[in-house]
């Protein structure tokens, strides 16, 4: 056996171990008539239950509507911002980048809370403005489907932007230039050339947003339940929030998630099948040209900045504001007099806060690094080699996206309570869980960057006599670095927010921040929650800034 094949097998075995265990537990659980740890016959009853009433059909329909429109909003917003900042001569691009960082770092639960406060019936700024300035009597309600779509979609524009910007930045502009020379306008060139070249990247971004919307819990819980709109995620919540928990039903829902995702992945794989057509980074030097917006430059720039401020900054400002108040109040003289640091003081008097920060930090750094290294290698195997098992590897690495955190947590508990591997109750079980959970995101970030690097650079290295490992570490990895760093930042920021799995696996001594955030949310202590959220944001901004700086120093410099 060739040395490379042996190495590939090890990678597949590792990814398979990480991903198949929860998947197997999931499938097994969906056919089991009794909870984990209790012997009982297998059954199809949970699946039969799924198709029994209209309730599930309604939730299914709501899930599709919510996910389709919110992912579309996120996607279109991301495309617009990426295009404006990377391919036009708009002014103040740096301000847009600064705004974009905010929603990437602020946990979704806080943004959702921020929007709810903004749309408060009597105390929300938006409704106060609507009533006092525009004379609208009927309050604008956020508790409906458009409200859900808005909150999720707007929060995910930043993710779309992050994933698209690298592709926009590194795209070979030869075809665009040819189109412009041939007399096509900006819009036609963007539609017919730019977006088509970037098809796999854009499709993948849309799919990721769609899947994230399907599995999102915060928005359906905080806005959907009060609105009476149930989605798939709420069904899982309903199946798991009662005692005894209906594990079978929860696993069945998760299996349906898996099927939905598998459909998404197959569309994605088809779109990227002829990846060569979309190669954007080649051995040639180039300088992407920026379209001239002409007379529209300043108006469009101003509008873009205004939109960024309202979408990304305003909800967070609301949360910051409430972190200094004893309870939420709209800005007023009375509120100004009530400003206090009490929330921060009471929060930091809890001894577990320091421990939770430390644990989250260690877990975040380790899981993001492991995920990105593992997926960089896996993506290389999938994109570059003709190895027979590569399809399996791609599917395995993407499959955890379909496993809801709660089910993953249950599977991890049961696996490590049963297997003679002594990590139950330690931080290691959390590290494994985080690695599994973020493999799909690492894989997408790595494989998308890999698609854009032409083989010719590696072939040149091999022609010069370099070994596989030399080529990988000296050529592939530095070229991948911008995507690698983006993926790393994505994983670390999300690992700090990971809740549904951590809540089941943490113990005294291994508490993480998201658990503390949840406890505060659960207890309705929004002011303290806001205070903790703001501290977390400050920490994550520092980490991301450092990562970008490090990435910038070691990445291949663009010409």
């Amino acid at each position: 056996m060739r040395k490379e094949s042996f190495f590939f097998l090890i990678i597949v075995a590792l990814v398979a171990y990480l991903t198949l265990v929860p998947l197997a537990m999931l499938l097994y659980g969906s056919f089991k008539s009794t909870p984990p740890g209790v012997a009982g016959p297998l059954t199809l009853a949970h699946y039969a239950e799924l198709f029994k009433g209209w309730e599930m059909a309604i939730s299914f329909k709501n899930s599709l509507i919510f996910s389709f429109w919110s992912s579309l909003l996120a996607f279109l917003g991301g495309v617009y911002l990426a295009w404006m900042t990377e391919r036009t001569n708009m002014a103040s691009k740096r301000l847009v980048y600064a705004c974009i960082v905010v929603p990437l770092i602020v946990p979704g639960i806080l943004t959702t809370v921020g929007w709810i406060m903004l749309f408060g019936r009597r105390t929300g700024i938006i409704n106060l403005l609507a009533r006092n300035v525009f004379g609208i009597e009927q309050p604008i309600d956020i508790y409906n489907m458009p409200g859900m779509i808005w909150v999720f979609g707007s929060d995910h524009i930043a993710l779309s932007f992050l994933l698209l910007v690298a592709a926009f930045r590194s795209m070979d502009p030869a075809l665009e230039e040819a189109a412009i020379v041939a007399g096509a306008g900006i819009i036609r060139t963007t539609r017919n050339i730019t977006l088509r070249i970037l098809l796999p990247a854009t499709l993948a971004v849309w799919i990721i947003n769609f899947v994230r919307a399907i599995e999102n819990f915060e928005v359906p819980a905080l806005i959907g339940i009060p609105a009476g709109i149930l989605v798939f995620a709420t069904e899982v919540y309903l199946a798991t929030h009662k005692v005894p928990t209906d594990f079978g039903q929860a696993s069945t829902f998760a299996t349906v998630y898996l099927i939905l995702t598998a459909v998404g992945v197959s569309i994605y794989l088809k779109a990227t099948a002829a990846s060569e057509r979309f190669t954007t980074i080649t051995g040639k030097g180039y300088r992407p040209a920026a379209f001239d917006l002409g007379g529209w430059k300043y108006l469009l720039s101003l509008l873009t900045l205004l939109v960024c401020f309202v979408i990304f900054i305003l909800p967070v400002l609301t949360v910051i504001w409430s972190s200094f108040l004893p309870f939420y109040m709209a800005p007023s003289l009375e509120a100004l007099q009530s400003l206090t640091l009490d929330n921060y003081k009471s929060l930091y008097s809890l001894p577990l806060i320091k421990r939770a920060f430390w644990n989250s930090f260690i877990l975040g750094i380790s899981s993001s690094t492991i995920v990105m290294i593992l997926t960089a290698v896996a993506a290389w195997i999938v994109v570059r080699t003709r190895w027979r098992g590569k399809g399996l590897l791609d599917f395995l690495a993407f499959s955890p996206i379909a496993v809801p955190g709660l089910v993953l947590g249950m599977a991890m508990i049961w696996t490590y309570l049963t297997l003679p591997i002594p990590i139950y109750g330690t931080i290691w079980i959390l590290l494994i869980a985080y690695t599994i959970k973020y493999l799909p995101y690492g894989m997408r970030a790595s494989s998308f960057s890999m698609h854009q690097i032409h083989k010719e650079l590696e072939e040149a290295s091999e022609t010069c006599g370099s070994s596989w490992s030399t080529t990988f570490f000296r050529i592939v990895l530095p070229l991948l670095l911008p995507g690698f760093v983006a993926g790393w930042i994505y994983v670390i920021t999300h690992s700090f927010r990971e809740l549904s799995t951590s809540i089941l696996l943490y113990r005294s001594g291994t508490e993480v921040l998201s658990v503390v955030i949840f406890e505060l949310w659960d207890a309705g202590r929004y002011p303290e929650l806001s205070a903790l959220g703001m501290t977390l944001v400050a920490v994550l901004i520092t980490i991301s800034g450092l990562a970008k700086w490090v990435g910038g120093r070691f990445a291949v410099q663009t010409v």
Binding site: P36, L222, L406, G524
Partner: protein, 364 residues
């Protein structure tokens, strides 16, 4: 011949496997604690402390909020500095299921487990707790302790109708649940997504049909469903909400006193109440002596005073609550309906079903 020897060997080994455990004199947690309870008080405490010193560790899990867990944790660790105290919050169904899964796998190393009132029956049935009759139980009336000795609680919780006094004048405030159906409250009522106490109280007082009709009528009157009792109390305080169907009496009193909130509360007829978090010793606790010390501490005067300091209503005789307006309610003529723990366990599936059908799925 060889086969016969092998067969005899296997038979012998099996016999040893059966006999050995019964030869060992290891006592169960229940036996250890029952033996200690036979001693005179001073000797009993001495033995408990000596045993706990040898064990060196106490692990507890509770559904109480993180603030109260921290207070118990710190005070207990200060009282018994030789113990390394570890605590974690077993919140909601997930926390309880995790405890039960660990118990089934024989790996529950948490010595003391406390759960919410409606889940007590399930945890007891799963055999998580062992019997332990703390001497502190003598200071509690029967409704706060298990007759079989598996659990006890040191407080209770009252659910009231809350309102904002700036938006609702006291004379016009809803006094009882039927008042909330008045069209003047249309769109102004908030109800928690988990109003367990209120729904169980209605089920006991009114029966299933009337409860179902009432909940439907409430939703027809535009009630909005929100998560979090404390949050709703804060929203009442800020003026975002006018009226809330089920908030905790002690929270209303607390925000009124500590943050000068314009809050009022009505005690409906009957006013539903439940016991607080129920505490018990793990049947297989690795540190039984420390576990007993901790349960004694929580149920004792010190634990009760810590609890009362947070505004909650203590159940222990002789320990006063912090806020007068939510203490001695029966003496003030409030028709208090304390939901018995056993009944709560039986009513829980029906209550959850009604909540899901009407409040969440909006089938009305």
């Amino acid at each position: 011949m060889r086969k016969k020897i092998i067969f005899q060997f296997i038979l012998g080994a099996l016999g040893l496997l059966v006999i050995l455990p019964s030869l060992s004199s290891a006592k169960t947690v229940e036996e250890i604690l029952a033996d200690i309870n036979k001693l005179p008080p001073a000797e009993r405490n001495k033995q408990l402390e000596a045993g706990a010193k040898k064990e060196g560790v106490l692990k507890f899990a509770s559904n109480e909020n993180i603030e109260l867990i921290t207070l118990y944790h710190n005070a207990f660790a200060a009282k018994y500095p030789f113990l390394k105290v570890e605590s974690w919050r077993a919140s909601g169904a997930k926390g309880v299921e995790r405890v039960v899964m660990e118990h089934r796998a024989g790996k529950l190393d948490t010595d003391v487990v406390a759960v919410p009132f409606e889940i007590v029956g399930y945890v007891k049935k799963q055999g998580v707790w062992g019997r332990y009759l703390s001497p502190e139980l003598n200071h509690y009336s029967d409704q706060f302790k298990d007759r079989d000795g598996y659990w006890a609680t040191n407080h209770y919780n009252i659910a009231v109708i809350g309102y904002n006094t700036n938006l609702v004048k006291t004379g016009e405030a809803p006094k009882d649940y039927p008042d909330l159906l008045n069209p003047k409250w249309k769109g102004e009522i908030s109800i928690d997504v988990e109003p367990d106490r209120a729904v169980q109280g209605w089920l006991i007082a009114w029966g299933e049909e009337r409860t179902r009709e009432y909940m439907k009528a409430l939703m027809h009157n535009g009630a909005t469903v929100r998560r979090g009792h404390t949050l709703q109390t804060q929203l009442l305080c800020s003026g975002e909400l006018k009226v809330a169907v089920e908030v905790y009496a002690y929270r209303v009193a607390q925000l009124r006193h500590e943050k000068n909130c314009p809050l009022g509360m009505s005690f409906p007829n009957p006013t539903p109440g439940s016991t607080g978090s129920e505490i018990g010793v793990n049947k297989n606790a690795p540190h039984p002596h420390a576990a007993a010390l901790f349960v004694d501490f929580v149920l004792g005067t010190e634990g009760s005073k810590i609890l009362a300091g947070t505004g909650r209503i203590p159940a222990r005789r002789g320990v006063k609550g912090l806020y007068e307006e939510v203490s001695n309610l029966e003496e003030k003529g409030v028709n208090l309906l304390m939901i018995p723990v056993e009944q709560a366990g039986r009513l829980d599936p029906l209550a959850k079903k009604l909540i899901e059908e009407i409040l969440i799925r909006r089938q009305f």
